[in-house]
């Protein structure tokens, strides 16, 4: 049941997303007025058309889709685990995607912006899911799944470090290091086309279980007695998060904190019902990442440095962490004792 207040919040978030998307089309080395940006988007004529359609539109759409995927993944995992600290990197998929992409960059199969990178990243995420299911088993308990995920995440992290370590040239190592920091610079519609099916599959898997997250507030036994198939729900969420977040890392590198923060932000508005948190958390994630991607373009960068823009993962962490600390500070009494 969504109440009027919830609908109002969703409308506000949708309006915010539209405004941020338009702003994102305007902002960059060549600043455009809202009118010029929209004209370029609709007609595709002239320089403005090329800038908007082939440079800024893909990165705007990717920011929206990735942000939404991270926000929803965080909300779904927190619902599944009944723990507000769960976040999308928990089962190792993003780390595995990073390792896959790093491998391709290191061995010169492709530059950091070619399609081989996202494909390798997605392959890495899929392998990690396969590994998780193989190690933990299809009907594994949560503890076993978490342990196996932790082990796989550490292994993938070590693999990435090894690839950096053995990188054939210092340039490749640098390229990997920057790629790992996360960016939406120079991404094209092809990147979007590669990742979008994974995002949609992830949303379906995660959203279809929204009612199960709500029933799980009573614990696994009670939820099972209400007809929730706990094993299937767990498997769908693990795979859904891995597909979505794996594809996100594959096209944009590692972007932290959105999956953790978005559900927290929204819980203050819609309450703690894990089913009602999902959609607004996805919209909040989309807005946060789009705003961060605007911010990296606005901050004056040093053109002589190797990295022209600030990296997205750096910005989300730099803004996200103090924000998160402030939120913990303001809510610490509620977090410690009986929740508000």
């Amino acid at each position: 049941m969504r109440r009027l207040r919830d609908w109002r919040l969703l409308a506000v978030l949708a309006a915010l997303i539209v405004a941020l998307a338009i702003l994102s089309l305007m902002v960059g080395p060549a600043a455009l007025s809202p009118r010029a940006a929209l004209a370029g988007l609709i007609d595709g004529d002239g320089v403005a058309g090329i800038i908007v359609r082939s440079i800024r539109l893909p990165r705007t759409l990717l920011a929206l889709l990735i942000g939404a995927t991270l926000g929803l993944s965080g909300a779904a995992l927190q619902g599944l685990l009944r723990n507000p600290l769960a976040e999308p990197a928990l089962f190792g998929a993003p780390q595995a995607a990073s390792a896959g992409a790093s491998f391709v960059i290191a061995y010169g199969f492709a530059g950091a912006t070619s399609f081989a990178v996202p494909l390798a990243g997605i392959a890495g995420a899929l392998i990690s899911i396969g590994g998780l299911v193989a190690v933990a088993g299809r009907r594994a308990s949560l503890t076993v799944t978490l342990l196996a995920g932790l082990a796989l995440a550490s292994f993938a992290g070590a693999a990435t470090a090894l690839i950096l370590n053995l990188a054939p040239t210092p340039y490749a190592a640098l390229e990997i290091a920057f790629w790992l920091l996360g960016s939406l610079e120079d991404r094209s519609m092809d990147h979007l086309a590669i990742a979008a099916p994974f995002f949609v599959a992830s949303w379906l898997l995660l959203a279809l279980n929204a009612r199960a997250y709500r029933a799980l507030t009573l614990g696994e036994d009670a939820a099972a007695s209400l007809g929730v198939d706990i094993d299937r729900t767990r498997m769908m969420v693990v795979i859904g998060v891995a597909l979505g977040v794996g594809a996100a890392v594959a096209v944009a590198g590692a972007i932290g904190f959105i999956g953790l923060v978005a559900p927290h932000l929204i819980r203050r508005r819609v309450g703690s019902d894990p089913a009602r948190v999902c959609l607004p958390a996805a919209l909040t994630g989309a807005a946060l990442l789009t705003a961060a991607d605007i911010a990296v373009r606005l901050v004056p960068a040093n053109p002589t440095a190797t990295a022209i823009e600030l990296k997205l993962g750096v910005v989300t962490a730099l803004i996200g962490v103090p924000f998160f600390l402030a939120m913990i500070f303001s809510e610490r009494r509620a977090l410690e004792g009986a929740p508000s």
Binding site: M1, A215, L216, L218, S225, G227, G271, A338, P339, S340
Partner: protein, 261 residues
Amino acid sequence: MSERGTPLLSAAQLSVRLAGNRIVDGVSLDLNGGELVALVGPNGAGKTTLIRALAGLLPAAGTITLDGRPLAAFSARERARRIAYLPQGHAFHWPMQVAAVVALGRHPHADPFSPLSGEDRAALAQALATTATEPLAERTVTTLSGGEQARVALARALATQAPILLADEPTMSLDPRHQLVVMELLARAAQGGNAVLAIVHDLALAARFAGRVIVMDRGRLVACGPPRDVLTPQRIAEVFAVEAVITDTAAGAIPILHRPM
């Protein structure tokens, strides 16, 4: 054991192994509509495991029959509409509103994509009224007292309107008044035609409220029948290793426990 026609739920030669140990060993029992059955036994007797198996939450050897059909033949949703299960120590992991928690009892009936139906609302209103939790409906469940939470948990189970209610220590860590309140609610549900099986540690409560008492010890069912016949000083000594006397009161033959043996 059944005196009242076909049982709603019955188990025959039910055995459950957990981690290689046989926790429930060849238990057979019937649950009939209209009766409150108390399941008693010392810690580790297998009571919780038995009740979880009866709820379809654990794989078990032997047969469980629900409405004359094998329990395994029911889908999870169909089963959930017939058997409500109240776990031990009612957990509420998120600070949700009481009304939303009780509404979870309608999960097996609800269409995933539509709001609560009129029937759902009626069931919720009735569950809140029965358990006197209406004044708490807008409150946050995690801020309630233990007694209030126990009533909310019971309201959630009653909201399903399942004919069978399996409750694992519903009076655990409640004050004397709330123990009586909860037992009265269970007895009332039974009078309304439900089959209610509740694990109870307080033998006096069991003797006072239950129509039948089932005694379990080391995985086996050792006695089953009216409290007066089952809860004898000799059996209480054998099973619980406690010296007891039975006192006849207006509320029935109530065991009074004296000292451990």
